[in-house]
Symmetry: D2
Subunit: 334 residues, 4 copies
């Protein structure tokens, strides 16, 4: 009974079916029928014209977005716990060819405007210091918290006022949308987001993410960068097909709701006192003593230790109902 | 009836079956059971201990290999028609962070030792010129020609004598091995190759290549670079599973033989006079007048014009027998 | 009696005097009185508003200019014998962070529009190939030839029509202007040049070059890149002072005329048959047999062998009249 | 009466005299007689064989050293207030081609071993995080504090134990040596330093620094990088001559002692209560109210505000005795 990561989940049946359907001779790279439908499908979803590029990983999506928004001699402001800072082995630095990350503080890996202002104020505006060019946040965050549309828009306004591009790492964007019940547009372009890494892999894909440019002028150079980074897969239709399959019938929302629901169930079992943070998506951070953690593991539950006396539980679209119930019960009994 | 590219082919049934089999919860990235078997499986195939890293594209495999073999201030000697020079949008320059490609001449995109010597002699050994650090060839070449084990070994010896790392772009390595009927080892480490981009995607994969390090010390830094480039897929087991499925029962050879056979059939129909180059793998370059090309297209055959009066026909593992026969007949009739 | 390189010459007295004058406490970096006068002084010289940045080397000037004109995923078209290709150890690749150089052919290291067209036509306009973003020529060339204003303007028009930035490596710009007797503007912005590396070091400076942006919008990012490359010297006034001293009273032209005159004297002594190329600046390439070369060296003349049976003689602002006369006589006697 | 920065000071007479002496035809780049003497002169000074490369700026020296010690996918641990982090516009990121800086805390911009350990412990040893490859400290620090030989050696031992290269930014190395009265070796190779940026410009040079490799194997690649970065000046003898002139008769120590002495005089006048940090080199950080700062400026003293209620006073080799006395008196009277 593994609650390590949604990264480890299987692909959902609709995705596998789509791979079968796409499994015939077609044009290579992104000239195929599936890839050609992406801009339209995502423009429909967001209610505005977008450029949509498939890539194989969230790290690639994030880094390509950041390279589009920040020159090599610039910096990107992000939370200290952002995936781009802590878990991508310097991919932003590689893709931007040497930009810096400027790290802001915030509970639940969330930035608020005042913190953005505070960090920007640390930078002297002269040639001796790297100047900020972009703001990057994650929604849902690495700690399972969500930014509301208003919170996002407040950051978007600030970014615009300060001349910063605005990137949203949406590895769990679906979970945020499902959690808030809002329109995808409300958490993205309507809130000032220029580029979104829209995650599908954790949410039931086999291996496909979509980089969405609301600022469509950024797409042309990114297509060069994608190729140059080895991310223009020669049989790209298998990626496009996954994305389209998950957009159809709102599978992406169905899957995210399932994952969120399982996390909510665990959160309720844990109770407020044990929770480190509110559970707003599909991650649950709880306080557990070493003995308690061992007890849970003794019952067959696997998860990451997070810090001393802390554990992370992640649910996914296919979290087994019985396993979730069992874990909820086990936590409640601690 | 499309003879554009083996890139456009479908995935073979064994690969799809393997994806289904891998479609269950497992460890993320490359910690899963399939990924963990790669080193062993490829070591068995090559008869020597290797490090085997899956990646999603040949461009990624090539570039990671080159970055392992050449510093930013070095150069890589390759044929003028090498894929790394002409079709990867500067990926080697991106991954090496600024190395140069030194271009050698050769019919069929093949380098011979004398040409390597000639190119090396153009470089003054001082700090004003970028110094060569690596040699890269493609087998089968971009023109469907193969290097024999002896030809490869002659280059390998020269590379070693001159202190150059030796990279083999094997996007169609399977086709070369199938064509020559030799051991994979004979075209790689026994011939001095340090790193091989072993292609599976064109040969029936859905999207998976294997970067093989015979110089195993190169692997550790490459694992960092792979992650940093966004090429450590979170559900990497789907890539590993494809590779393992194609190694099993020599599917990779079966597929390559089928593609090569179809090309041979077209070559025989074309006749020597019409062939630009000997057909040794799965690509056929023929002389056709504009009228002849139009006539073929009129009969439903699609292919690339290559140069004035030249056409490229590419077969694949699943080239339809009837289509091949029809094209062979049509060419014979020209 | 050394005719190796104008790089090896001394600094002219006016430059040394300027260093003394600048040798007092002032503001660091480029905030000092001398640096602040550069834009004005060069705007006056060129008859248009320019941004003028001092740097310590021609390689830095060239590379900063190219980085301003070409993205990492682009290419720069230049002559095969361009200094940026053959003698800067990959500096353009470093500063652009991975762009490619596209090499054109031309006698005397000169490009003509037809060759530019021919090279551009080799590039497919798709994401698989690096696309050209800039054109770079050298005037006077590495072979001592000059582009006239008309020749430059023809390239400038073509560059503009094809969307290419236009860089002029003017390590010996002074020699070209002196040779042609034209206005500096005629060889630069009036001919479509966006950025000029204006050389002073070879022409009597101690160590100072000026990067001139006619497209002034390129300067701001370049100031960041200059700092980031370690080229914003803390006591920059010593560089600015050199440049201003050489602009005053047209010292730069006086020095270039002296160097050109010495070369002309050698060219006349050599005679047309012995010259590999017309002598239009301060470099003389002559045919000499090994015995003849040895004979010259036996008389105390030092110079570079260029190719088999070829020698390069370079004169400078301070070429000793007696040495030049002696070499002219020795050549005439061969 | 300016106390802004030692960067703004004039060059000392011995340096100017050396430029005159070097002002004759010689070999270009670093083939001249002066440059050829550098290795020997610095090996004598340090009592061990070193490789010594001149460069024009401290930023270039630092960045070349860091690029030699840290791969693009690594990180460099340094104090949060290190010049390489705060004042070089991302030069380390540019030269290393994408490494990260890992920032440690410490009063006076000094790191202690426990803090190094603490920072290293924040890094998981897996491919998802950039791994530390180098440690960089500054002596004297950006806050005018010095590391003793023992303090340096403790860091050197730790660096070695953890597999980190050890870089010393010695923009004010002379001030540290003068302050401590120790041997240059005690603050460098004997304490485990691999590469030292030995500053001369702030200490009376016109524009020359020396990059010293105690690990001499790092020099060869760095010579390529130096050229590639545009830092191989064509008339390098003027840099080498400055360095040699300042080594002769210990001018570098004489100058540093003068600067330190002036700072000490100011520190004594300020008194302990007003000092933010002990004054151990040539920088004085004092507490001053806005009114006090205005009063000092009203008397003609210029300096940087550092933080709210803080001022930085920097002395230099040529600080005017009368100005220093006047400032000391003015501070004492506050």
């Amino acid at each position: 009974m593994r609650f390590f990561s949604d990264n480890a989940a299987a692909a959902c049946p609709e995705v596998l079916a789509a791979l079968h359907e796409a499994n015939r001779l077609d044009t290579a790279y992104d000239g195929d029928a599936w890839s050609q439908r992406l801009n339209g499908a995502f423009s429909d979803l967001f209610g505005t014209e977008v450029e949509a590029l498939w890539v194989a990983t969230g790290t690639a999506a994030n880094s390509l977005a950041l390279a589009a928004l920040c020159p090599p001699y610039g910096s990107i402001l992000c939370p200290r716990d952002a995936h781009i800072q802590t878990d991508e082995c310097g991919a932003p630095e590689f893709y931007t060819l040497g930009a810096k990350l400027l790290l802001g503080e915030g509970a639940g890996a969330k930035l608020v405007p005042a913190e953005v202002e505070r960090q920007l104020a640390t930078v002297r505006n002269d040639v001796h210091q790297v100047q900020p060019h972009a703001l990057s946040i994650t929604n849902a965050t690495e700690y399972g918290c969500v930014y509301t549309p208003d919170e996002t828009a407040a950051l978007g306004e600030l970014a615009k006022a300060r001349g910063l591009g605005f990137h949203l790492d949406g590895a769990r964007f679906a979970n945020a949308v499902a959690s808030l019940g809002c329109a995808p547009a409300d958490l993205s372009w309507r809130a000032g987001v220029d580029a979104l890494s829209f995650g599908f892999t954790k949410n039931g894909g086999l291996g496909a993410e979509c980089l969405i440019f609301f600022d469509r002028e950024l797409a042309a150079a990114t297509q060069m960068r994608r190729k140059r980074a080895g991310h223009l897969l020669s049989k790209g239709r298998y990626l496009a097909a996954q994305l389209l399959a998950m957009l159809a019938d709102d599978i992406w929302l169905r899957n995210a709701r399932a994952a969120n629901g399982a996390a909510t169930r665990l959160a309720e079992a844990a109770g407020t006192a044990r929770l480190l943070l509110p559970v707003e998506a599909n991650e649950v951070f709880i306080r557990v003593s070493p003995d308690e953690a061992a007890a849970l593991r003794g019952q067959g539950f696997d998860f990451y230790d997070w810090g001393p006396g802390e554990a992370r539980l992640v649910t996914s679209w296919d979290s087994d109902r019985a396993h979730v119930d069992a874990l909820a019960a086990a936590i409640a009994k601690l």
